[in-house]
């Protein structure tokens, strides 16, 4: 039974700061959270079931719909897993590999910009929203120029890339990169030393490194807790071994450190993009597809492959029966699903208004949590 001071409050599912349809049942004592129970599944679309009934190339557009603000990395994870299953990872042309890296880094920037915009507006800072969307709009324009879509890109194919870069695209990105660091400075000038921002984020939702590993946390929340681990460095794919970038880490594992990590990651993504542009200009135009069979029928076996998505480790576990052209089973390991699990542990003892900051700092996308 309840203590007289305790009560149960529903947070969501229709609440703008839950970033989708997340419902959290809160047990509160006044404003203080005693317990939190996330309820998910409102956006469940049976993606894994659909994967079992479609040929591998047909699955790629469905991966867009999972983390719909970072669809390029979803595509990348899926096509790389199928390529690993086929054993053709080494055959992917260099130009296609660089293009994949460029698209995923642009995607990381746009995903982090959306995160910053919404996280700041959740906490009460309105201005960064407009600043972030100014740059995000340009990134989405690059996607639109490349593949015609802005959110659900469907921009990668098993064995390569569908299109070459449009004329002038690389120069536009170069111009964007040249001024993006200044834009990040601008966001930071609004928040990093802002007294209100620090009051709302420093010491909120502290995650120790041990707990982070125990909860299976990956991505910026893990690095915010001080563990220097990034799949782009630990198990590099595509052309990441040739690229220079740092892995930013935090010290205290609180919301403020996770904010700093993501801000630094945007700068690192920009640094990677700057290195990619001369690299891709050296490769022959049009060399985008590996010579693999058009019918994709992998041998019998199972693989797990994961990439560093903007939100953490995005993994695909595919079981192939060797007979058909569709996956016997395709399980997705979404970073948001795993990271969200730690929300009750983070929220205990904090105020209800801090829950909004905590949901923002985990950076969830419910399309990916529910699949």
């Amino acid at each position: 039974m309840f203590d007289v001071h305790e009560m149960e409050v529903n947070f969501g599912p229709q609440h703008p700061s839950t970033h989708g349809v997340l419902r959290v049942i809160l047990k509160v004592d006044g404003e203080r959270i005693i317990d939190a129970k996330p309820i998910i599944g409102y956006l469940h679309r049976g993606t894994e079931k659909l994967f079992e009934h479609m040929a591998y190339p047909q699955c790629v557009p469905h991966t867009d719909r999972m983390d719909y603000v970072a669809s390029a990395t979803n595509n990348l994870g899926f096509v790389e897993t199928v390529e690993k299953l086929l054993g053709v990872t080494k055959l992917i042309p260099r130009r296609a590999q660089i293009l994949r890296v460029m698209l995923s880094e642009l995607q990381r920037i746009s995903s982090h910009l959306l995160w910053l915009a919404t996280h700041a507006i959740d906490i009460g800072a309105m201005t960064p929203f407009f600043y972030c969307f100014r740059e995000r709009e340009q990134v989405l324009d690059f996607f639109e120029a490349y593949c015609g879509a802005r959110l659900t890109l469907n921009c990668m194919r098993i064995g390569g890339m569908p299109e070459d870069t449009p004329p002038g695209w690389l120069d536009d990105i170069e111009a964007f990169c040249a001024k993006f660091d200044a834009a990040v400075d601008e966001y930071e000038s609004l928040l990093t030393n802002n007294r209100i921002w620090k009051k709302r984020t420093v010491g909120i939702g502290v995650l120790s490194p041990e707990d982070a590993i125990d909860w299976g946390i990956t991505g910026p929340p893990l690095r915010g807790s001080g563990i220097e681990w990034d799949l782009r460095r630990a198990q590099p794919y595509e052309v990441y071994p040739e690229l220079e970038f740092d892995i930013p880490i935090g010290k205290n594992g609180d919301t403020y450190d996770r904010y700093l990590v993501r801000m630094a990651e945007m700068r690192q993504s920009n640094r990677i993009l700057k290195q990619c542009i001369p690299m891709i200009k050296q490769t022959p135009a049009g060399d985008l597809k590996a010579k693999i069979s058009k019918v994709i029928r992998p041998p019998e076996g199972e693989v797990y492959h994961s990439i560093e998505a903007p939100k953490g480790e995005l993994g695909y576990y595919i079981v192939s029966d060797g007979k058909t052209q569709n996956a016997y089973r395709c399980h997705v390991r979404p970073p948001s699903f795993v990271n969200l699990q730690a929300l009750p542990a983070l929220a205990k003892g904090h105020l209800v208004s801090d829950l909004v900051a905590l949901i923002g700092t985990i950076d969830i996308v419910l399309g990916e949590v529910d699949r």
Partner: protein
């Protein structure tokens, strides 16, 4: 597209097959040898594919095996996924398998543990080893109906409480099932009925409009690209038929060759 279409039956560039390793060879792999030594008799079999090691463990001792691997540096449970093998070609043995993907920071490598089970036999839960197993096991239970014993709150996570069926089982139809019965028992009789959104009448009578159908006017044809075609008199639209919304039969999805790759 100057590529020659390859013969469609050929498997796409199979992985270069090294001489097949025996299970004992794989168990001696330096990656896993130390961990296996801690619980060697609980590892029943081993397999390697695409450079990934899969170890088949004794179901009842999976917690012990996981602990042994965790003590040996595989501190991180990456993923936990259930598979329904009931339609797998030439498969014999238990119906379900659960795959635990572990990662070691020191060795920078993953290893996969697998156990077999059937519809009723529970698998010991590894939530005591990793907190992150909690939601993974709930999801596996929700999607496949695999039971984990010792789990703190084994309840549905993606589907709602009271959902009847396990969506990722191979015998679950891809078009879905009638789900109205449990939500609106007064409208949807227990044990089936028409699809959700109808009224509980027999499927043939659902949404049948008994009144008169109004004739729609003719719409001007859209002119696309200069409109070279003369606007032919459009055929009068047949009155829209009442749709009884029968569920589409579960035809196997046609496999289409991807012309782009």
């Amino acid at each position: 597209m100057s590529e020659q279409p390859p013969p469609p039956a050929a498997p796409a560039a199979p992985a270069p097959a090294p001489p097949a390793k025996t299970a004992d060879d794989i168990k001696r792999d330096p990656l896993v040898a130390a961990a296996i030594a801690r619980a060697s008799d609980a590892i029943l079999d081993a397999k390697e594919f695409a450079g990934e090691i899969t170890l088949f463990a004794d179901r009842d001792r999976i917690v012990e095996v996981c602990r042994a691997f965790k003590d040996d540096g595989f501190v991180y449970l990456v993923d936990l996924a259930g598979v329904d093998y009931s339609k797998f070609p030439n498969h014999t043995g238990p119906r379900f398998s659960v795959a635990y993907t572990l990662y070691s920071f020191q060795k920078n490598a993953r290893v996969r543990l697998r156990v077999w089970t059937d519809e009723t036999t529970p698998i010991p839960s590894v939530t005591s080893v990793w907190k992150t197993a909690n939601w993974h096991e709930r999801e596996t239970f929700d999607m496949l109906g695999i039971v984990f014993s010792g789990h703190p709150n084994l309840e549905r996570i993606l589907m709602w409480d009271g959902f009847n069926g396990y969506p990722l089982r191979k015998d679950f139809p891809i078009r879905g099932i009638d789900t109205g019965a449990r939500i609106y028992p007064e409208v949807f009789p227990e044990g089936g009925g028409p699809k959700a959104g109808s009224t509980g009448k027999p499927a043939a009578d659902v949404n049948v409009y008994k009144g008169e159908w109004k004739k729609y006017g003719t719409w001007p044809l859209a002119q696309i690209g200069g409109g070279a075609k003369p606007a032919a008199a459009p055929a009068p639209k047949p009155a829209p038929k009442p749709v009884a919304a029968p569920a589409a039969p579960t035809a196997p999805v046609e496999v289409v060759e991807d012309a782009d790759v």
